[in-house]
């Protein structure tokens, strides 16, 4: 072609500009790939040698990074993630159904509908730390409606906890009793009370005025307490232990994270409902189904894989989210008893990574990187599962 038509100068220029831009594009794309590789490479280089079987099950140890691990943090993350999904999923799917399937005709309601939709998109843009503050106000302190929890006193409203006082008898053993007034932190034994010992025997405590009055019989001596003897208190908590306000606990964090992922779940569920072809709905309505029957029997089953995909992606966001948890629960790195009920604190992976990364002492940098590797692997598994789910059910519907 060029043999017959001389190419105008400007065209050469224009084409070389085009070629130049595509080179720029390739370079920038290469830079992005390089960034990811550097990111993963630097983390792998720092952390992979610290990754071993013990690391997965051990607890955090301040003094000894080599023996530290992420056992509690993994458990905490899994519990937290399940908790927030269980809370956010029903509300999220409900909102999505409302927005997609029940579009009102009334003018005021339509305006409200539009407002809810706009609001959800805005909620998705609210920084997670603001949700953290909301969590602190609404769940940890509950707007100060209840007396605040102090470390020494049990909360004013609670279930699933028994406060047991124990006192040392003249025989040297400890006997225990349950006191109706749980707010007394320094109770003194002044009169006979019903008590029990470790063997489970129930008896009345025998109160004497001085050591000289102690009975000779060793069994009786073990049930005898000096008048005015100071008791100590401890609490036995069941798995359903609950108190108000929730305080800095796993439940508060779960509720807060549920708020964080709610808009994500709603938006993903809306997409899932929108992807159900209209012909299915129309067929159901044509058979005489009501709107809700059509939704329940036709749309929801068809959209369920989409809901699940969205839920998993939202959960993977929740697993990596550190700021709200840090705000609500504080920088917990380990607890002595582990996570036994929802009113406990627990470390979670991102918070532990944050605390370790900020620790200047030798070894913690490597620990942090090793924990990041585990976290990224968890996310990889979750996301692969979501993709698998999507691919599997997409084909069936089409």
């Amino acid at each position: 072609m060029n043999r017959f038509y001389s190419t105008p100068r400007s065209e050469v220029k224009r084409k070389s500009k085009d070629r130049f831009f595509s080179v720029v594009c390739i370079l920038i794309a290469g830079l992005v790939v390089l960034t990811l590789l550097t990111l993963l490479g630097s983390i792998g280089a720092t952390g992979s040698s610290w990754l071993n079987w013990d690391f997965l099950f051990a607890e955090h140890r301040e003094d000894n990074p080599e023996q530290s691990g992420i056992g509690q943090a993994i458990f905490g993350s899994v519990v937290l993630c399940g908790l927030c999904a269980a809370l956010a999923l029903p509300i999220g799917v409900g909102t999505a159904i409302l927005l997609e399937e029940f579009q009102p005709r009334n003018r005021v309601l339509r305006w409200l509908h539009w407002l809810v939709q706009l609001n959800i998109n805005n909620l998705a843009g609210v920084p997670s730390i603001v949700y953290g503050i909301l969590g602190v106000t609404a769940f940890v302190y509950m707007f100060n409606w209840f007396p605040s929890i102090t470390p020494n006193d049990p909360p004013s409203w609670e279930i699933g906890a028994t406060h047991i006082y124990q006192v040392k008898t003249l025989g040297g053993q400890y006997v225990k009793f349950v006191c109706p007034d749980k707010n007394e932190s320094a109770l003194r034994v002044t009169e006979p009370i019903e008590a029990f010992d470790d063997a489970g025997n129930t008896f009345m405590i025998n109160v004497v005025q001085s050591r000289g009055d102690a009975p000779g019989d060793p069994v009786l001596k073990n049930r005898t307490v000096l008048n005015g003897k100071l008791t100590s208190r401890y609490s036995e908590k069941t798995w359903y232990h609950l108190h108000l306000p929730f305080g800095k606990t796993v439940l508060s964090s779960g509720l807060t994270l549920a708020l964080v992922i709610l808009p994500i779940i709603i938006i993903a569920s809306q997409e899932a409902i929108r992807s159900v072809p209209d012909s299915l709905r129309e067929a159901a309505l044509g058979m005489g189904a009501t709107r809700w029957e059509a939704v329940r029997n036709v749309v929801l089953p068809a959209a369920t894989p989409g809901f699940m995909t969205g839920a998993i992606l939202a959960m993977s966001r929740a697993v990596g989210e550190a700021a709200p948890v840090l705000a609500v629960m504080g920088g917990v790195m380990g607890t002595t008893n582990g996570l036994t009920n929802l009113m406990d604190k627990s470390p979670v992976l991102p918070v532990l990574i944050y605390k370790w990364a900020g620790d200047e002492n030798a070894g913690f940098e490597n620990l942090s990187a090793a924990a990041i590797i585990v976290l990224l692997l968890m996310l990889l598994v979750m996301n692969s599962f979501a993709v698998w789910l999507r691919n599997r059910y997409e084909k069936k519907l089409a």
Partner: protein
Amino acid sequence: MTSNTATVTDRPSFENFRRRNQALGKFSQTLVMIALVGCGLFSLAVTIGIVVMLATQSVGFFYNKEVAVNFWQFLTDTRWTIGQTQGIPRYGIMPLVSGTLRITGIAMLISLPVGLICAIYLAEYATSSVRSVLKPVLEILAGIPTVVLGFFAIKFITPWLLQPLGDFKTFNAGSAGIAVGILCLPLVTSLAEDALRSVPNSLREGAYGLGSTRLEVTLKVVVPAALSGIISAFLLALSRAIGETMVVALAAGSTPTLTADPRGPSQTMTGFIVETFQSESIEPDSIGYYSMYAVAAVLFLFTFTITLIGQLIRMRYREVYN
């Protein structure tokens, strides 16, 4: 004939059954609608809850028993000394805003051009084999938790990238800004790519037919047509960068400074909030506690306005093609 009479006698009971069933169906439908509307209102309640909480608690910052903070002083004073024990306390939010703007500025300088070019490349230039590499890379990047990028900023970007270049401190705004930029990049790319892809091919073909090069088609036809989507992508990335917390908390340090120098430490609004929550010394009902809400209110105002503008731009100026 006998069968005919049987149907006649049967019909009323069948009708009754149907009517009862319908009544039950209507009742359960009403219940379901109430539940669904409740779900929808819940999300509104969350927003209202955030606004009311920030408003009422911020009042405690300006009217409390410890010290009365002047609202004008809060907006204009150039020092922020909450959390520091010595000296006269100063409550000017400017240093925190400056920290946020510095880091956001660096992040936007990186993520907007790179993100837009990546989006153009993916939508207009790339072959399917390149797409199959670049797309998953961006998806992985989008899924990386922010605390991991914070780790990357403090352990890699600062010592290996920035400190050889100049006098960067251990905690500096530059590394945090770069990491936040990396964080925003996939967001910009995916939203901008969606916007570019929604431009119908007929426009492109028209321009090609007139003899345009690919670059001209992209810059003069496709990008202007997708401009509202691209701008809303930029705004979403901006609000994301302003609200980013963990990267900043790890890499930017905890000294509020009012400069434009990216080499020194800086504290952002989000960084301050997280720092305050962590320190056990802050008690409820103290000035430090209320200051958190005041800062959060400013932060929320920033991000909410930007997101809202982004939403409205997308709704109003979206070019509709048939």
